[in-house]
């Protein structure tokens, strides 16, 4: 997959990742990511049809905790770390779209 990524694809990925990148940066990433994708091409072509994917090194199951309340973090401490707070809440600039 030489030059695997197009400029538009990289721009789309940057949007998904909420990164604001200039064109020159996008081009650098396009080349570097293409290079990495070329490197992984051999692994992409391995025949793994018979293998199940591993997402976790050990197959632990049913790790649960009791439904018992424990104290959290005090609001003052939480909001002191916030870039902006108002009225006991985190303040953010206006939101243009509704949650999907």
């Amino acid at each position: 997959m030489p030059d695997a990524l197009s400029h538009d694809e990289v721009a789309h990925v940057a949007r998904l990742a909420r990164l604001e990148l200039e064109d020159a940066e996008l081009e650098t990433y396009r080349q570097q990511l293409s290079h990495v994708l070329e490197h992984v091409e051999a692994v992409r072509r391995l025949d793994t049809a018979a293998l199940a994917p591993t997402s976790h090194p050990f197959a632990l199951e049913n790790v649960l905790r009791p439904d018992t309340v424990a104290p959290g973090v005090a609001r003052d401490e939480v909001l002191a770390a916030a870039p902006a707070a108002e009225d006991g809440r985190f303040r953010v600039p206006r939101i243009l779209g509704e949650a999907p």
């Binding site: 990524l5 694809e9 990289v10 990925v13 940057a14 998904l16 990742a17 909420r18 990164l19 604001e20 990148l21 990433y29 570097q32 990511l33 290079h35 990495v36 490197h39 992984v40 051999a42 692994v43 992409r44 391995l46 793994t48 293998l51 199940a52 994917p53 591993t54 997402s55 976790h56 090194p57 050990f58 632990l60 790790v63 905790r65 973090v73 401490e77 939480v78 770390a81 916030a82 870039p83 902006a84 985190f90 953010v92 600039p93 206006r94 939101i95 243009l96 779209g97």
Partner: protein
């Protein structure tokens, strides 16, 4: 550090001396803080030195000893923490601008355990931003230098912890290892670095890079000290769902036991890609194990060479999601804008360095619609392939022997191509993918008289056998191959 270094005899011996009242925790802390103050302008191992907290903790230890109480197994021993471990009220930055000034409202589980064990935490060490790198050059605070040659990197991403131990600034340090980030800098700095079995040490409070691979582990000058530190931090934690249940067996006593009778496989596939000195160290290590009574044999596990590619799909994918939360809303940096989405994007663009952005981009891409199966799912199947290959090897061997790093420490700025840098982790990554333990033991001096580590790999929870072999390697190692070393420039000699 001077010959009168309070921990010349090791961390375990130091704890014993303080426990017996022969040494004062306060004096040790003061010496350490002074040494750090003297050396760290040059080395830059530390992002923050917590002098006041350290002295207070040391005094508490002395008071306890005076009152006849045992402050714990690490009684008064100074410990440095990689700056991606949360410390209550103390800045935890991950060497990133995006977390500048953030003070966690809680301690990581390993930090609580250290405090309970009587350790004295002296500061937070430098790392590649969010642990992404193999040289500690990708830090918003600038690079850490290798005390063996200050024009070279200490390796990474736990370079600050490795260099601090190598320079004798602290007897113990913690790092994190996602693809080799403890073992590779340990090899490049001439110290012991151990990545435990995944789940043996709680990840609660370790700022996540790649959750299914990350594991916290110890640095020390001696294998026994590393094992003692591991004993303190290991064990089930209900706050980490991936934490393994069950008791942790005593580990430190294993270090002195003979490896006679153990079956050791030398991963022949890795020797080809290692520098002559790195490959030679493995061969000589194998000879030493034979001499100590182990059964050593070459083994071909070519599947392990696919690990690097699988890793560079899985780790960035998890990272892209783990690092989404740095959005300027709740903590850390914010670059203001007229609407929230633009604010998020500007904050992240300014707050993250180039390598972090590169991995977020790569990870976002491989998870995105249409590519998931080709890349991410495929990498997870290759992970299975590697685990199967390991399983077959461990039917014949108790442990495996391999180089830790393909080369000795390289000059700062030498690897500008990301892929070239990624190759530094070729031999360490398979253990992360499988969740297995592995340790790098300083063994020889290689090219440019720089230290070379040998890596011992073991199956899940194979730490006891792994430590026996590591101890044997340590006893056979060249005495000048490990720290402490007084920081110096190129060619200055030891």
């Amino acid at each position: 550090m001077s010959a009168a270094a309070p921990f010349a005899g090791g961390a375990v011996a130091l704890a014993a001396a303080i426990r017996r009242g022969e040494e004062s925790a306060r004096r040790v802390a003061e010496v350490v803080l002074e040494e750090i103050a003297g050396a760290d302008d040059l080395l830059h191992c530390f992002n923050a030195v917590t002098s006041e907290e350290a002295l207070r903790a040391a005094d508490a230890v002395d008071v306890a000893v005076a009152a006849g109480r045992d402050p714990g197994p690490l009684c008064g021993v100074p410990v440095a923490l990689k700056d991606n471990l949360c410390t209550r009220g103390v800045p935890t930055t991950c060497s990133s601008r995006i977390l500048e000034g953030w003070r966690p409202p809680y301690d990581a589980t390993v930090v609580s355990r250290l405090r309970k064990a009587g350790a004295v935490i002296v500061g937070k060490t430098n790392l590649d931003e969010f642990a992404m790198g193999s040289s500690t050059e990708n830090s918003a605070n600038g690079p850490t230098r290798n005390p063996w040659d200050t024009s070279r990197v200490p390796g990474g991403s736990s370079g600050g912890s490795a260099a601090a131990v190598a320079a004798g600034l602290v007897p113990l340090a913690l790092g994190s290892d996602t693809g080799g980030s403890i073992r590779q800098p340990a090899s490049l700095c001439g110290v012991v670095g151990l990545k435990p079995t995944y789940g043996l040490v709680s990840r609660y409070g370790l700022v996540a890079f790649a959750s299914s691979l990350d594991q916290i582990g110890p640095f020390a000058l001696r294998v026994e000290d590393a094992a003692a530190l591991l004993e303190v931090i290991a064990g089930h934690d209900p706050a980490d769902s991936t934490s393994l249940a069950g008791e942790v067996p005593p580990l430190a006593p294993e270090v002195g036991r003979s490896p006679a009778g153990l079956r050791v496989g030398v991963v022949a596939d890795f020797l080809v890609d290692a520098s002559p000195a790195c490959a030679d160290a493995v061969r000589r290590g194998a000879d030493a194990l034979v001499a100590a009574g182990a059964a050593v044999e070459d083994v071909a596990i070519p599947e392990l060479l696919h690990g690097l590619s699988a890793y560079y799909l899985i780790a960035p994918a998890e990272a892209s999601s783990n690092l989404a939360r740095y959005d300027g809303v709740r903590y850390g940096l914010r670059v203001d804008a007229d609407d929230v989405a633009t604010m998020n994007a500007r904050t992240r663009s300014k707050g993250f360095g180039a390598e972090v952005k590169r991995r977020i981009m790569l990870g976002t891409y491989v998870l995105s619609a249409g590519y998931y199966d080709a890349y991410y799912a495929q990498a997870q199947r290759v992970r299975t392939l590697i685990m199967d290959a390991f399983r077959r090897a461990y039917e014949r061997f108790d442990v495996l022997l391999a180089p830790t790093s393909p080369s000795v420490a390289f000059p700062i700025g030498a690897k500008s191509d990301p892929l070239e840098m990624y190759l530094s982790d070729l031999f360490t990554i398979p253990s992360n993918l499988a969740g297995h333990p592995a340790v790098s033991v300083p063994f020889a001096l290689g090219e440019e008289n720089l230290p070379v580590g040998v890596q011992v790999l073991a199956p899940a929870l194979g730490e006891p056998a792994m430590l026996r072999v590591a101890g044997a390697l340590e006893r056979a190692a060249a005495p000048d191959a490990r720290g402490p070393v007084r920081p110096h420039g190129a060619g200055a000699g030891r």
